[in-house]
């Protein structure tokens, strides 16, 4: 009689069920992330997002560090050109990333806490703190930082022996850096100097490819954020009030929906300009109707639930009922639509750039790179067309895969055993 069970419950409940408490959200995520393909997609998107943030460190013509040799009485100095020439946007992105990273650390550390209310409180507190910090940091950067114009040709300095001890980024070309204007240097095929060749201006295709991740992710993220906030506001108000408000606002949603979206975007871009931020706003402003419909449907459902009535009875203010109590419960289906929306925004931006009305040059985008490779005024260069096209395709696919599996997980009716 060696190991006697000490308690009956030990016998009855297998070990993994008593583990840390799992929120419904965690269960959903677990179910979503099981298939291998979805994990691949998530990792891929994470990689693209990381590239978007860290691309200045991956593809840059300036070295991390370099020693400029003594010349004409000046002593040799060690410089850090890459860090010195980080732009405002680079720094803001890094700040935002740092905040996100710290929060995910907090999230990770608290994942085993059993006291759910406390866990939620701590997480919210950290989230608020970090978000505030990130916003303050961004504002400070925007005010204090001046972009530096540094076009010294460090590669040549090193080649000529006027500088040494340099550590370059893995790709020694920025997105706008050009080879000298010579015929054999533009439109090169892939070679050792340029792994994916050069484009019609003698710029490194690989570098531009990586820099375009920033445009794609930025457009997807900002536009969906805008769309989501408009949709949330509209949908929640409509869903909660119903009646006349509902009738009127649904007419409005119908109006916006009935005009062909792509055509509307084209018109907007033609009329109001093609700045990258403008394009984000335009895609956001024309793409919120789906969210509004979703949220409205959810709110119509939730409104009838008892806890809302209880909140009413407790005399809570309206905004609190709407956004603290109802919204979190109505949010999950919206994530499905956000995932598809992200894919849609990425592909709309690429299409606009492909048609020549997207981001202005020399900003690279997968769309305008694809256009430059297959423009009818030039010959078709597949080695320029394939990389941006495939990257665009895989990105859209990854978001669709995630959206699909989210939907399957959330919709028990569709979950085929």
């Amino acid at each position: 009689m060696t190991s006697q069970p000490q308690d009956v419950t030990d016998l009855a409940v297998p070990d993994r069920l008593v583990g840390p408490a799992r929120s419904w959200w965690q269960i959903v995520m677990g179910r979503v992330l099981t298939p291998l393909l979805v994990r691949f997609a998530a990792v891929y998107i994470l990689l693209v997002a990381l590239t978007a943030v860290f691309v200045p460190f991956l593809a840059n013509s300036r070295p991390y560090t370099i020693v400029i040799n003594a010349q004409g009485g000046r002593p040799a100095v060690r410089e850090f050109p890459l860090f010195r020439s980080l732009t405002r946007l680079d720094l803001i992105l890094l700040a935002l990333f740092a905040a996100a990273f710290l929060y995910s650390l907090v999230h990770w550390r608290t994942r085993r806490w059993r006291d759910l209310p406390r866990r939620r409180r701590v997480r919210w507190r950290w989230l608020g703190l970090l978000a505030a910090l990130a916003v303050i940091a961004s504002i400070l950067i925007a005010i204090l930082r001046h972009n530096v114009l540094d076009v010294r040709n460090y590669r040549r300095l090193v080649r000529q022996g006027r500088a040494g001890d340099a550590i370059f980024a893995p790709i020694r070309w920025g997105y706008a850096g050009m080879e000298p204007l010579r015929k054999n240097l533009i439109n090169q095929r892939p070679s050792r100097a340029h792994w994916l060749g050069t484009d019609g201006d003698g710029r490194d295709v690989l570098s531009r490819l990586l820099w375009s991740c920033r445009i794609a992710m930025g457009v997807g993220f900002v536009s969906q954020l805008i769309a989501l906030s408009i949709g949330l506001l509209f949908g929640s108000l409509t869903g909660y009030f119903s009646g006349l408000v509902d009738l009127l606002s649904m007419r409005f949603v119908e109006i916006v929906e009935s005009i062909p979206t792509f055509f509307l975007i084209l018109t907007f871009v033609a009329i109001y300009g093609r700045d990258i931020f403008m394009i984000m706003v335009i895609i956001g402003v024309t793409g919120w109707t789906g969210y509004a419909r979703f949220i409205r449907a959810e709110f119509l459902r939730i409104r009838r639930l008892d806890y809302v009535a209880a909140a009413h009875a407790a005399g809570l203010p309206l905004w609190r009922i709407l956004f603290r109590h109802m919204l979190p419960n109505g949010l999950t289906p919206v994530l499905v639509s956000a995932s598809f929306g992200f894919a849609g925004a990425v592909s709309i931006e690429a299409t606009l750039s492909f048609l020549g009305v997207g981001v202005p040059p020399p900003t690279p985008s997968w769309g305008n790179m694809l256009n430059a490779a297959g423009n009818p005024t030039t010959v078709f260069r597949w080695w320029q067309a394939l990389p941006p096209g495939l990257l665009l395709f895989i990105t859209v696919l990854a978001f669709n895969i995630i959206g699909e599996s989210l939907r399957d997980a959330l919709d028990p009716k569709l979950a085929v055993n």
Binding site: A176, M178, L181, R182, G200, R274, G356, P362, P376, T378
Partner: protein, 622 residues
């Protein structure tokens, strides 16, 4: 249950669909055949008419009422001597020019031993014209089509560049240049058989000048005309308010349209009409199948030299790749390739044996430039602007982006035009000197590596037309070059109408644009300080009293040699002040199907399809 959509219903629907589509196909075929039949009938009718005319001609011939013109088998200079052409200055100082017979073009094919009329000429128009209506259209395609149908009083000799009487038999320009009197030829007719009278000339002029008619761009050239009168049925007199060197060209170049066809009561009627084109030219508009082709047919009773081709067909292939493919497949007879296509094909012996390749400069192809808004403090200094020009390697731009198929320009005049002073050399590419100039102008690098003067950094926006790969490439290159010198330039592509709006509002820092050219352009529109105000074309605000004086003098000067001297001086001033960074003017490239003969281009005018012919054994269409 009986209300349900069953599987039988499904197949029944399919069957129904199949039947419908078969019926649709059959209807389509009937329609197609019907159209074919109609066009056949039309052709037969025309052939009958032609036969009738032939009979009549034969009758006249045999009865002796018609004499055969002597074959024009000499060059224009020789024929000028034999045919009694007069170009002289009268005793009162007026110029008098009289050609008893219409001048044949210098490369005319009629005397070639293997000359044969017939065959078709199938050309590509690129974009389909928006509409075809005399004076109204602004697109190049419609103008090209109309040039076969409409004729003017004078015609420019492509070799000597002189204006020679065409519909007019003679003209007389008074000594002060203010009065020009044209006398029409006898026996000239519109393609519908009606004679051309002085009234038609006046009507054409009045139509252009009618403020309700949508011809504003043409109108501005004729603003100096005081009056236009028909003195009798064959004589028209134009009187000008002030002497102008282009006076003869502007009134002599008016296309003459028949009053009895185009007469209108409300100007709107004239604007919105379209698809009807009647003139006196060698070809007539036969049909315009939207989205497919425009067909011109020979004017059977043309008053002038016999037109060569039975038909001229214009197709609309805007995509350059597709156009070249159609050309190679023999579906079109002429193609203007892109520079990249030219270098790929024109050098290959297999290709040059099969096709005729020409490369030439045209005055009308204009030039590209970057204009600096002189109102902005940063561009006020001449040295700064010169430095900006020096930073751009225009030779390398031409070599890499245009495959060497363009020529640098040094000023606003086309290198081919006599207006251009060939002694002026382009400003050389010299970044080191440019930096020195910028330093002289007071620019110093600040902590961010950007040039700065009086605490203001050297940064600006370049407005440029969107969707043009070439312009985008050049602008990106310029951005890079300027950055190397510490100048921050951002690129702002706009769709064209917005760009024009911004230019009109003078809202830009710098602008990338092109001007179209002409053999002798009038610099007033672009360079005179009076064109700055109120949305004039002098958008950059170029204001130079010396230049203004030269422009005024040049416009008044009727003596060509003296005028050219004035233009050369003007060019030097503009060159020195560098308000634009002048870039290049591109070559015109041309591939022609080998069955055509006599395609040799004129030195300045380029190819003239009217001179081409196909020897009888090589003719393709009948």
């Amino acid at each position: 249950m009986d209300n349900r959509f069953t599987i039988k219903d499904f197949f029944f629907t399919l069957l129904l669909l199949a039947v419908i589509s078969v019926v649709a196909l059959a209807m389509g075929q009937f329609n197609y055949q019907g159209r074919k039949l109609l066009s056949l009938q039309r052709q037969i009718k025309r052939m009958n008419e032609l036969q009738l005319q032939q009979m009549q001609l034969l009758n006249k011939f045999t009865t002796g009422s018609l004499t055969v013109k002597p074959a024009a088998n000499s060059t224009s200079a020789a024929s000028a001597q034999t045919s009694g052409d007069i170009r002289e200055t009268l005793s009162d100082g007026a110029r008098y020019v009289r050609y008893p017979r219409p001048p044949l073009s210098p490369h005319n094919p009629y005397s070639r031993p293997d000359y044969a009329p017939g065959d078709w000429l199938v050309l590509n128009l690129g974009e389909e014209p928006r509409k075809i209506q005399p004076f109204v259209p602004q697109d190049a395609g419609a103008m090209t089509v109309q040039s076969w149908v409409l004729e003017s009083l004078l015609i420019r000799n492509p070799d000597t560049l002189q204006w020679e009487p065409w519909l007019a038999q003679s003209y007389r320009q008074s000594a002060n240049g203010l009065t020009i009197t044209f006398k029409l030829r006898r026996g000239i007719r519109f393609s519908n058989g009606e004679p051309i009278t002085a009234r038609d000339v006046v009507f054409s002029y009045d139509t252009i000048m009618n403020p309700g008619v949508d011809t504003a761009p043409l109108r501005t050239y004729l603003n100096d005309v005081k009056s236009c009168r028909a003195l009798n049925s064959r004589t028209v007199q134009f009187i000008f308010k002030r002497p102008y060197f282009k006076a003869l060209e502007e009134v002599g170049g008016i296309q003459i349209i028949p009053e009895h066809v185009y007469k209108f009561t409300r100007p709107r009627q004239f604007n919105e009409e379209g698809g009807k084109l009647v003139g006196s030219g060698p070809y007539m508009l036969d049909k315009w199948v939207r989205g497919q082709e425009i067909v011109l047919v020979r004017n059977p009773d043309y008053w002038g030299p016999h037109p060569t081709f039975d038909r001229i067909v214009y197709r609309f292939i805007a995509n350059p790749q597709a156009a070249l493919q159609s050309f190679l497949a023999g579906q079109i007879d002429e193609d203007g390739p892109q520079p990249s296509q030219w270098v790929r094909y024109a050098g290959k012996p297999g290709f040059t044996k099969k096709y005729i390749c020409y490369k030439f400069l045209l005055p009308s192809s204009g030039y590209d430039y970057i204009g600096w808004n002189l109102r902005k403090p940063m561009f006020k200094d001449r040295r700064t602007r010169t430095a900006l020009t020096m930073l751009l390697n225009r030779n390398a731009i031409i070599k890499t982006f245009l495959h060497g198929l363009a020529v640098q320009v040094t000023g606003p005049f086309n290198p081919l035009s006599p207006q251009n002073d060939p002694h002026i050399q382009p400003i050389p590419y010299n970044p080191a000197k440019a930096r020195a100039l910028l330093r002289q102008a007071g620019w110093r690098k600040n902590a961010q590596g950007v040039l700065e003067r009086n605490g203001r950094p050297f940064q600006f926006k370049l407005d440029m037309p969107a969707k043009d790969q070439l312009i985008e490439n050049i602008a990106s290159y310029a951005q890079r070059q300027f950055a190397r010198a510490g100048i921050r330039m951002t690129l702002e592509p706009y769709e064209f109408s917005v760009l024009v709006h911004r230019i009109n509002q003078r809202k830009f820092d710098a602008v990338f644009l092109g001007w179209t050219g002409s053999l002798e352009g009038d610099p007033y529109q672009i360079w005179d300080s009076k064109s700055i105000a109120d949305k004039g074309s002098n958008a950059i605000g170029f204001d130079d009293p010396a230049a203004d004086r030269l422009i005024a003098a040049g416009r008044r000067e009727l003596n060509t040699a003296k005028r050219m001297k004035i233009w050369h001086k003007l060019q030097r001033i503009i060159y020195r002040r560098q308000p634009y960074t002048f870039l290049f003017t591109p070559y015109t490239l041309d591939f022609i199907n080998h069955r055509f003969h006599n395609t040799r281009p004129y030195k300045i005018f380029g190819v003239n399809e009217g001179d081409w012919y196909v020897p009888l054994d090589m003719q393709k269409y009948h």
